[in-house]
């Protein structure tokens, strides 16, 4: 088993910047990611086999990130799915050559975010993709969700996806946005902290107007029904400020794809597994690990940066990552106090500015109570196990209070995604039924972080070579 000072899980902007910074300060660093290349979700690289035209469309920030990483001495393990982190620390991953494990004095969880979708009747139909999923399809492979797509949900990904579809030659039937126009403008001061991004936003809106794409503010999808081969009818209606549906007027769209997403939630697999303390931050995606100003979690030696520490966006992830890398080098003793203070001050300023912008965006993605109240009883909440809201309500009636008891009594969250997709919304539903987020809690973190092929994990071994503990007593 080889060892390093620091193991970083996640090669997005947070993880890569942290790796480069820590390495520059003399730490030996291992960076692991299940993706084939660095970039994370936001700067996902097109597969290497793809043509030059697609490669040239890759975001230049991501290209630069990958170039800097290859020029560094950071030990890189891409195509490695981390499935366990044990205290002390040992990190276990499954790579192309089978199971591997590494040891380190510190671990940085930079594992990003996952998308949340507030369920509505029909949301599990194959014509429906997540907004985040759509961005990945568009940027890594130039694939359109459909020829004519309805884009719905909330937050900045609405614009990113709609523009991506137009650029790739597709059509957008409408953008259905939970927020009002005023809510987008309310955060203008925060947006002004990143004039480049604010200008890009305005240019995008102009492009959408030229393409004649209607934007329905304060609206949400009511249901999606199949009308023909690969064709669905989407019913859309107005909502109140808290997300609660208003009676009329309803509108219908016939499209061949729907891209819908209701914000992001932090990936907390590692911090939940290691029983770090968490707090509920509704404006940053929900449950997130508690951190101090040095990115330290409550577990000694375990650090968190990027969206995994609460949603703040790609720019903040990069700044926070750099600063986290510096803080870890400081804690591990390779940066003297004075030098640390001098180097940290400008990074802290950058990070605070980037976070202001990111937090404004994350606010637009926050779950609203009316959205959750409005989920109809017969709608599936846990798509892995096909559990409806009515079944959850019955379990609550039978006395389940916490997310974990609810899971035991209904199998909600027991499928392949282990509640990563539904956990936040189901938690919100439990709160509507009575209780606080703290009472309801989170799904207990367990290994493996991803389903693992049993054969690969077991490897090839003769029975005689199996290491068995002593027999059980008679």
């Amino acid at each position: 088993m080889s060892a390093a000072d620091l193991i970083i899980v996640g090669g997005g902007p947070a993880g890569v910047e942290a790796a480069l910074e820590a390495e520059a300060h003399g730490l030996s660093v291992i960076l692991m990611d299940e993706a084939p290349q660095a970039g994370g979700q936001v700067y996902r690289a097109p597969p290497r086999a793809f043509s030059g035209a697609i490669q040239r469309q890759a975001d230049p920030i991501g290209v630069r990130l990958r170039d800097r990483l290859s020029a560094s001495r950071v030990q890189q393990f891409f195509d490695h799915t981390v499935w366990s982190v044990s205290p002390g620390f040992r990190v276990d991953a499954l790579g192309p050559k089978g199971p591997v494990s590494y040891e380190a004095r510190a671990v940085l969880a930079a594992s990003g975010a996952q998308e949340r979708v507030v369920p509505f009747p029909g949301w599990t139909r194959p014509e429906i993709v997540g907004l985040a999923g759509a961005t990945i399809m568009l940027k890594s492979q130039g694939i359109l969700p459909g020829r004519l797509t309805l884009v719905a949900g909330q937050g900045p990904l609405l614009l990113i996806v709609a523009i991506g579809i137009l650029k790739a030659g597709g059509r957008v039937a409408a953008i259905v946005d939970l927020a009002s126009r005023a809510e987008w403008l309310a955060d203008w001061p925060a947006l002004a902290s990143r004039p480049d991004l604010a200008v890009r936003g305005l240019a995008w809106r102009a492009k959408l107007a030229r393409a004649g794409v209607p934007i329905l503010y304060r609206h949400a999808i009511r249901q999606v029904e199949k009308v023909g081969a690969r064709r669905v009818s989407v019913t859309v209606g107005p909502v109140a400020a808290n997300g609660m549906p208003l009676a009329a007027p309803l509108r219908g769209f016939e499209v061949d794809a729907v891209a819908v997403g209701n914000g992001l939630t932090a990936s907390t697999d590692i911090t939940r597994l290691l029983r770090a303390e968490h707090h509920f931050e509704p404006l940053r995606g929900g449950w997130a690990p508690k951190l101090d100003a040095y990115y330290r979690s409550s577990v000694s030696g375990l650090y968190v940066a990027g969206d995994g520490a609460g949603i703040a966006g790609a720019a903040a992830a990069a700044c926070d990552g750099r600063l986290a890398g510096l803080c870890i080098a400081h804690d591990l003793g390779t940066v003297a106090e004075a030098e640390f203070r001098r180097a940290a001050a400008p990074l802290r300023r950058d990070a605070a500015r980037a976070r202001r912008f990111g937090t404004a965006m994350a606010k637009l993605m926050a779950l609203r109570q009316g959205q959750v109240q409005a989920i109809p009883p017969e709608t599936v909440l846990c798509r892995c196990e096909d559990i409806t809201r009515a079944e959850l309500t019955r379990a609550v009636g039978d006395g389940a209070r916490s997310l974990n008891q609810l899971k035991a009594w209904t199998r909600c969250g027991m499928g392949p995604c282990q509640g990563r997709i539904c956990g936040d919304v189901v938690g919100a539903v439990l709160v509507v039924e009575g209780g606080t987020r703290e009472d309801v809690g989170q799904f207990t973190g367990r290994t493996p972080f991803r389903p693992l092929p049993l054969d690969q994990l077991a490897g090839d071994l003769a029975y005689a070579d199996l290491k068995l503990p002593p027999p059980a007593p008679l």
Binding site: D92, R275, G399, K407, L457, A458, L468, P471
Partner: protein, 374 residues
């Protein structure tokens, strides 16, 4: 009588406490069941739910057989479906040494009444074609099966409320005082509860609970690992283990396969089961795939740890506490989930003043002199 005064208070709402409380209430006592968390969220809600005689301590076979029968008829007396299913069970031997152990253990368990017999590899594979053809021998038992342990709390909660048990979830007990009228149960963040009788049913936390009453017993805490796979095609119908007891395997109707066998993880009663030991995890699945090779096709979904209690002589602790009036303990039962409906009922009978059908397990044998304060 105040709202918080009872004939009997049972502390610990695992399957042991739940059964005792149920039968006390049905026997006419005003009963409360108290847990610091929610019902059956510890061992009783996270265990493998195997109703096997192949792994049961030989001396406990008569209790396990009664318990198994009760689980299978739970619809009738509990009024709930907790996924109890009858199946046949195998214990396998792959080496000469294992075969010897298999025969010896089968004989000891048969002597206690378990209908276990040795079968040839061909016979075993005729019943369970998924078994690895390289086995040397197998022990077969028609009386095996499983319960869906995560449904236990839901089933018992409804039955307890219907029987009139006052269920107090969410406030831990901090200590117990003795008064003329019985016992005062002090809770964290909630009013005390008064009861004429108390039953301690705290699983691995029994050592602490007994110390409240000045009774000193060591309770060992095992950190048992379980592994569940994704749904897969049907690959087995029986419960399958191996001679040394280090494997328990079964496939549920939904296609998932549960892999256990008492492999250990890290943890303790205070922090719970914290982390699996990666080598133990890999060893456990290597063994599972060796027994049923088709398991290689599926994926491992989740690994968890549960806390099981054991006394120094590894026999149960069930009965009245010495030197106290109307104070009882129940716990540390090997294959305790299987026998809980029966053993819980036996203790309730004793508390209700009737002679239990089979003997209890006197806790007095385990008591240590009070440790002097340093």
């Amino acid at each position: 009588m105040s709202e918080l005064t009872f004939d009997s208070a049972v502390i610990g709402a695992g399957v042991m406490g739940a059964n005792v409380a149920l039968w006390l209430a049905r026997g006419g006592m005003r009963t409360t069941l108290i847990d610091r968390g929610e019902i059956c969220r510890e061992a009783s809600g996270v265990n493998a739910g195997t109703l096997t005689l192949h792994m049961t301590r030989a001396a406990l076979i008569p209790y396990a057989m009664k318990g198994r029968a009760l689980w299978l008829s739970s619809q009738a007396w509990l009024g709930a479906d907790v996924g109890a299913r009858s199946a046949s069970g195998f214990s396998l031997a792959f080496t000469e040494a294992e075969e010897e152990m298999l025969v010896k253990r089968a004989e000891a368990r048969s002597a206690m009444g378990a209908p276990i017999r040795i079968v040839t590899p061909a016979e075993a594979r005729a019943i369970e074609p998924g078994i690895n053809p390289t086995i040397r021998a197998a022990a077969f038992c028609a009386l095996d099966g499983h319960v869906t342990a995560y449904l236990t709390g839901r089933g018992y909660r409804a039955a307890l409320l219907q029987a009139g048990v006052a269920l107090h979830e969410g406030h831990g007990v901090e200590g117990i005082g003795v008064s003329d009228a019985g016992y005062v149960i002090r809770r964290c963040g909630a009013a005390p509860i008064h009861a004429r009788r108390i039953v301690l049913a705290g699983g691995v936390w029994l050592e602490t609970m007994l110390a409240w009453l000045g009774q000193h017993v060591s309770v060992r805490c095992l950190i048992n690992q379980l592994i569940v796979t994704e749904r897969m095609r049907p690959v087995m119908r029986s419960v399958v283990g191996i001679a040394n007891g280090l494997l328990s395997l079964k496939q549920f109707e939904n296609g998932t396969v549960l892999i256990g066998g008492g492999w250990q993880g890290k943890g303790d009663p205070i922090r719970g089961g914290i982390e699996p030991i990666p080598d133990n995890l890999i060893g456990n699945i290597q063994l599972a795939r060796h027994a049923i090779p088709a398991l290689g096709e599926t994926r491992v979904l989740r690994i968890w740890l549960g806390l099981e209690s054991e006394t120094e002589d590894a026999m149960p602790m069930v009965g009245p506490l010495p030197g106290l009036t109307e104070a009882y303990v129940i716990g540390c039962v090997h294959s305790g989930y299987t026998s809980a409906p029966y053993i819980g009922r036996l203790l309730a009978e004793r508390i209700l003043g009737r002679e239990p059908e089979q003997p209890l397990f006197d806790p007095a044998r385990l008591m240590k002199p009070r440790q002097e304060q340093a």
